[in-house]
Amino acid sequence: MDLHVPAGSAFGLIGPNGAGKTTFIKSVLGIVRPTAGTVRVLGGSPEDPAIRARIGYLPERLHLPGTWKSPAFLATVARLKGLKPDTAALARLLERVGLSDALDRRIGGYSKGMRQRLGLAAALLGDPALLVLDEPTDGIDPMGRLEVRRILQEEVQKGVTLFLNSHLLAETERVCDRVAILADGRVLREGRLEELAKAGARWRVRFAPGADRAALAAGGFAPVGGVREEGVYTVDAADVAVLNAALDRARACGALLMELKREGADLEAVLLGAVGGPGVAA
């Protein structure tokens, strides 16, 4: 496989179970060695500790010492990253991931979501240039996911490169600007989300009930079938001017516009299209 992740991008890796996503992540971190070829991370070898010092990693199933408390765990990770543990900074980091209320509790008593948050805090230690996160929101409740997404977006805005492996396609879609689809150890598709979703010249329009179907059809609007698709039409428009002209014609015949959306495949459809068939998971 040949994959290039641009610096500063938010990159999502998706694919079916057993596609090799976690193995790929491990090879990026030097935990497993490629049988052939080379891996270069941040301009160097992943086996170089100086390079790994600039990477924050959250494994898929992080095993945490249950009898420890989170500040002690983070202090140890900080030392292993070659940093001097700063109690106030660690407390701020724990607050950022939403664990400020659990500082005095043993990690063994944490929920799965709290463990993930602590893992994320450990990954964020030392302001890494690259964040490699394997299922970062696994076990986190919807509100927590929102917080985690906000943290990740903040990091990306700061210029951090994000490499995300998540089975939650909606999350990948919301956080990442580039995506690669992996199957059987090969990259099937890779690129910007919009490119993969093949945003084309077709638009989806919803008019208020009572619109004249015949007049709309004459104006280039094709009705979408289905009971739940009442008032929904598609129209082909090569550019914005053509689209607006079509909408003007519709409004001229009394149709009231309620919703307008460019037709395009979502990430799930892209994944299914790439790996071929249902029953896949990221």
């Binding site: 971190l29 935990i31 790994r52 990693y57 199933r61 992080l62 010492p65 009898t67 420890w68 030392r79």
Partner: protein, 279 residues
């Protein structure tokens, strides 16, 4: 900046401190030492032990010099520290390395800016710190009690404890190497037990070999025990030192050298294997 080896050693010690049975062992040891300290009364007159009372009952009535009278006690204590310490170490420390190498933890550690050998060296250092600490506490406590009660001070038990730690180092080197091959605490402790038994037999290899029928069995026994550390011989030297019994010239140096070479060899295999392993 602290070396990653020390940080990993601290990690292991912190894990150890949270283990209930290790804490129970330390509490038990303290209780034994306290019981001995409170219940034993030695009457010493002009450097001679006149009477010994345990829980108020007279145990010894014949008068002899303190150092001679305490020899069997120190000898027994040396054996207890040596074999008891190694046995406890095998059980108590068997899951430290498999725990650190377990899925979900090893990936996280290896993604941090440390070398793979740091992880094994730190684990080894942490476990040995634990072993030395426990030994110093047990042997030092005994030395202190008898020193205060009898006025006879000797470093013998501490030196014997040191030899026990050297013996345990060889055993733990094999356990650590086993952990790099299979992440199983049970197999690690089994490897430790096998080496302990093998090391005891190796100390008596000449005697045991005589009882085996000549042929493949005896040759195999001789070949296997040739490379094993002579743990029983080391325990005997530890007991001799604790009881101030003179040693044969050069015997201790050879023994220690053999045990250290074996331990370093076992560690080297573990380091080499772990260095090339995909986790």
């Amino acid at each position: 900046m602290k070396s990653p080896v020390f940080v990993i050693a601290g990690y292991v010690l912190r894990e150890a401190a949270s283990r209930k049975f290790i804490l129970a062992f330390m509490v038990g040891l303290t209780l034994v030492l306290a019981t001995v300290a409170l219940s034993l009364k030695l009457e010493v007159v002009d450097g001679a032990l006149a009477a010994t009372r345990l829980f108020g009952e007279v145990m010894r009535s014949n008068i002899m010099s303190v150092d001679v009278a305490l020899r069997p006690v120190y000898r027994a204590a040396a054996y207890l520290v040596f074999y008891g310490g190694i046995l406890f170490g095998i059980v108590a420390c068997s899951d430290f390395a498999p725990g650190l190498l377990s899925p979900g933890r090893i990936e996280h550690l290896l993604a941090l800016p440390l070398q793979r050998w740091h992880l094994l060296a730190g684990t080894f250092l942490g476990v040995m710190t634990l072993a030395v600490g426990g030994t110093v506490y047990a042997a030092g406590g005994l030395t202190l009690i008898f020193g205060v009660k009898a006025g006879y001070w000797t470093a013998g038990p501490l030196i014997a404890g040191g030899l026990a730690c050297v013996g345990f180092a060889a055993v733990y080197a094999v356990m650590l190497t086993t952990a790099t091959l299979v992440r199983s605490a049970a197999l690690c402790s089994a490897a430790g037990f096998v080496l302990l038994v093998g090391g005891i037999l190796a100390g008596f290899r000449a005697d045991v070999s005589r009882y085996l029928e000549a042929g493949f069995g005896r040759t195999a026994f001789d070949a296997v025990t040739l490379v094993l550390p002579r743990l029983s011989s080391l325990a005997n030297r530890a007991a001799d030192l604790a009881s101030a019994t003179p040693l044969e010239k050069g015997s201790l140096g050879m023994l220690l050298g053999g045990v250290l070479v074996f331990g370093l060899g076992a560690l080297s295999v573990g380091f080499w294997h772990f260095e090339g392993k995909d986790c």
